[in-house]
Amino acid sequence: MMPRLQRGLPQIIALLVILAIDRAVSPQFFDLRMQDGRLFGSLIDVLNRGAPVALLALGMVLVIATRGIDLSVGAVMAISGAIAASLADAHGLPIALTAALGAGLLCGLWNGFLVAVLGIQPIVATLILMVAGRGVAQLITEGRIVTFTAPDLVWLGNGAVLGVPAPVAIVLGMLIVTGAVVRGSALGLLIEATGGNARASELAGIGTRAMILAVYVWCGLCAALAGVIAAADIMGADANNAGLWLELDAILAVVIGGTSLFGGRFSLVLAMVGALIIQAMNTGILLSGYPPEFNLLVKAAVVLVVLLLQSPRFANAGAMLGRARQ
């Protein structure tokens, strides 16, 4: 158990540091209050606002563990949001939700097909849907912002379960489901093996193709759910802006969570922590009164630091520097 704890330590410390900075710029940061059966407060805001990226990261972490990447998740969010918003008022939640999630599933299948069956490099394969997907979403909404009032769909964005905002509850639920599937079965080990050395894994008898297909499908499904939540939150679907650039936040969350872009070892929980770190930075900058443009610079700096820490060449250079000083 000790190595596990040690492994997550830098991320946890980073989160605590950022929360402490948030507290410094906004003294009421940790205040919580109950209103209409739902918790409110800046801390809850971080969780709630972070939910879409956390969901994306949940799918993305598995994709990255197989040494892949999915750039299309933002576009998939836009598609599923557009579908859910268009169908909710006329057909009710079950049909709207099924159609939206079904679309995410199909998007994942498409990505998985390109990567696992046709052998296209993941970054290029998913770039296709990243570009095309937003077009599809705009076709669905016919270029307008589609609004809806169906209360059960709105609840997914604004409701609460035992005081916990619905998006947060959904993320928790998905984390538990994903964790149970991945760590409860042998999937986790086989994914880590495939990401660590795909050729060796195939020669060990692992059906690497089916598994890679499956992680892209799961990633698409998570993205669709994130899209529905984002739409429910604003009671409408904006095909131009829903999920825009969020794929980068999701990748960043996964990388901050210690999963290498070279595949192999992954941690679902730490990817969630990564998503929280990003959102805590976002919220902190908003609360501090600095213009939100700063956010992008701060994020970029964090990416740089994280990637430097993961770079073997950097580590070597550091070690050599250390030796030289001695």
Binding site: A186, E192, R199, G205
Partner: protein
Amino acid sequence: MPGVRVDANVGGSDAGMNASSDPGSALLEVRGLSKSFGTLRALQEVDFTLRAGEIHALLGENGAGKSTLIKAVTGVFPRDAGIVRLGGAEVAPRSAKAAVDAGIATVYQEVNLLQNLSVAQNLYLGRQPTRFGLVREAEMRRSAAALLAEFDLHIDVAEPLGSYSVAVQHITAIARAVDQSARVLILDEPTASLDRHEVEILFAVMRKLAQRGIGVIFVTHFLDQVYEICDRITVLRNGRLIGERATAELPRIELIRMMLGRELAETTSERAAAQVRQAGEVCASFADYGKAGYVAPFNLSLRRGEVVGLAGLLGSGRTETARLVFGAERADSGSASVEGKPVRLQSPRDAVAHGFGYCPEERKTEGVIADLTVRENIVLALQAKRGLARPLSRSEQDEIAMRFIRLLDIRPPEPERPIGLLSGGNQQKVLLARWLATSPRLLVLDEPTRGIDVGAHAEIIRLIRELCDDGLALLVISSELDEIVTYSDRVIVLRDRSHIDELEGKAIDVSNILAAIAAAGTAGAEAGQA
């Protein structure tokens, strides 16, 4: 006056001819070259002499030091000791580019040119003819066409290089090298991916270069080609110089002996310990199994409790046979059956489901998963065989890992250590454990003792024998002939990607295997007397 001019010209060209094509003069001299990587001594005081105008074969099995020698000479990496003289003057290039500037050019098997640029652009990349800073395309094309015409290659030099065959690409690379005033040309396995006709074209180019007085070093493992074109042969083994001979004075069997390092005298009764094992019934068989351009169709039956050895030179089709048997490559002819029932082996997954296991030669890239622990590496194949839905519990994994760590004496005995931190021999044992955990009926071991220290080496061989006594069928590939002789019940000899002979029982000894390797093809008569 005109007469004088003519005389002067004739005299000048004569002098040039004498200087460049005198067969006795050493063009490239390597003396006492050594190179180590960590504790591995890749080259130990190797001497090598290349004369002007000769084609000189550099031969040796995997790990003999051929590539290291080339790279140390051409400055790809620094040498630890030794000197290199080119035309009498000492040279010490510090990069491949510096070597080219000094007059030593190398063309590798994978052509290092740009597929998307035209042939002409590739020929003159970085030294294009320019006027006022602009590239003179037309002039570049004219001289490119003229340059290639010297090699009897008449192609449209404006087309992208990638649209031409590998042979043309090789000749383009050679032409580029020669045009940059190369005096020594090193060709590293240039014919590996060429067909017979393309080889002819390349050989014609090589002969032409030799006539011009260029020294050509030819690295290959096709011995027929060596005898066809090379004037002299240098053999390396385990980083040491074994000898330099004139091709005409070196019989093929002698050459193979130099490469594999065996003397006929010492091979007589090594198989004294050979136990007469009672081979069980056939557990897997392959009929006319093969793949076009990969390995010729072969028949192979594997019996329980039997070790079948695959012997042959590098590139003879040993690993290819293993990969077909394991489904890592798909056969396009013939049929396979397991326990008498026909089966299809489309992927390693199929093979594992039928109880096969495979320890590949490339342990690092195809065997171990370096980031994962010893435990995870051991249970991997068993888990893949059981499927996702039936995960091994952590306690089952621990039990299996500890059982095999103890059984195979894997050190250090720590199941949670990442396998990348173990020594080569222990990594190999973990891979053996990975397959033994699946209770296989057939295990294919490709060079199971490669890169393993002497102690672990003996241990692996002992394990192979024990496994066999337990009723497992084993198919083992090894370049170490005495090793094959020690444990095999049958030996299949391969050459040029086909199975050419099979030795059984008392017939298995090193000299018979050597004779079989040398016997095939053009050297039939010669080997008959051996």
